[in-house]
Subunit: 214 residues, 2 copies
DNA sequence: GTCTATAGCCCGATAGAC
DNA sequence: GTCTATCGGGCTATAGAC
């Protein structure tokens, strides 16, 4: 891999792990295995790292948004695949949201994209739920699917932080991911046909394993 | 107010607003209206500020935890009062959770207290829901009240951040508070008797107004 | 109890050799 | 494309006058 990409990967990893402000450029250079001055050959300043990672994030999010329900018979599997992509995205780019106060304003590219990303994301959740309702798997008033979509987003978006905060011991990240998926499922599991609920819970284990490998 | 208390209030306000790492002691001293060196007379170092604020937080949280349902006929009003206290606490001490990576380890006092605080907090939610179920206001399986309590905690704890992130324009903090209360209500509103739902929504407006004044 | 002056450190970033 | 050497600046914290 090119040095520039190694820097970006390591920066994203460290920012997520320790917070943007807590990662010194010296530590980043050391982690990459290059001299600190070499960073400034590839990027003008620390802020430019955020801009570059943001571009990757937008690409990743737009790819995830394309995961729509296409086959009614497989909506549960498709939903599970979508959740996996969503969880990956959240874990891989969490510092972009979390540390905004730290690195300052979002890049212009992200500011322009954000409202669309959030709006589309809500619509994406609603679409999956709609298909579940239409195929008789989920019993939920169409009018209230929007609220359910918001609640699901929040649980998935902040679940990792929540379980970290409450300090429960977890054997692995995979186990925590599985836990927030299970938690989001409790939002509507009581209105889901039992076979669908079981299939989702089974799918979550696979997702958790896949995310852990990342 | 004593200088020491003015420092603590201003520090908590600035930390919440800008993040612990982004508040320089020079800026804090200026905001309080004292010389920077004077800070180090009252506190040994920046970290000591966190310890002191933590003690206030523990006191506040333990006070909030005492809000239990006592009168079955007034459980909705009591629940609303509890939510108000919870929202205040979250907004007044949010940096303690959010910026932990920034200021390092929690104080020993908080580390010892945290598991109890979270456990009691879940029990508190469950108790209110239990009374609603017992008095026929809420139709929910007793077994699944724990999940509902977790979901409610997450929505209330991270709702402010979520609505800030998605960048929706809000006329005021009070309006956002009202919005996260309404959002958490959608978790169980469809199983709540209509009169109770209406009373809660009305109570939220009062809460929002009260929090705004803080 | 509050102030001024300043020490000492670490950070992000630059210059220039190779 | 990568390195070493170093700078200016902002930060936390100390010393000591008042």
């Amino acid at each position: 891999m090119k040095t520039k990409d190694r820097i970006l990967n390591e920066a994203r990893r460290l920012f997520n792990e320790q917070g943007f402000g807590n990662v010194t450029t010296a530590a980043l250079a050391q982690a990459v295995g290059i001299a600190e001055g070499n960073l400034w050959y590839h990027f003008n300043n620390k802020r430019a790292l955020v801009e570059a990672i943001t571009l990757d994030f937008i690409k990743s999010a737009n790819g995830r948004l394309e995961l729509r329900p296409v086959d009614d018979d497989k909506v549960i599997d498709e939903y599970a695949a979508f959740l996996e992509a969503f969880a990956r995205e959240i874990t891989e780019y969490s510092f972009l949201y979390r540390d905004q106060a730290d690195y300052g304003e979002h890049s212009a590219a992200l500011l322009e994209e954000l409202p669309k990303l959030y709006g589309e994301s809500q619509r994406q959740f609603r679409e999956f739920f709609s298909v579940m309702v239409r195929t008789g798997l989920l019993d939920w008033p169409e009018k209230q699917l929007g609220d359910l979509a918001v609640n699901a987003s929040i649980i998935l978006r902040y679940g990792l932080e929540y379980f970290r905060e409450i300090g429960e011991e977890h054997p692995s990240t995979a186990e925590t991911i599985r836990q927030i998926f299970a938690q989001h499922l409790t939002l509507f599991e009581h209105r889901l046909v039992p076979t669908a609920a079981r299939r989702l819970r089974r799918a979550f284990s696979d997702i958790a394993a896949a995310v852990e490998g990342a």
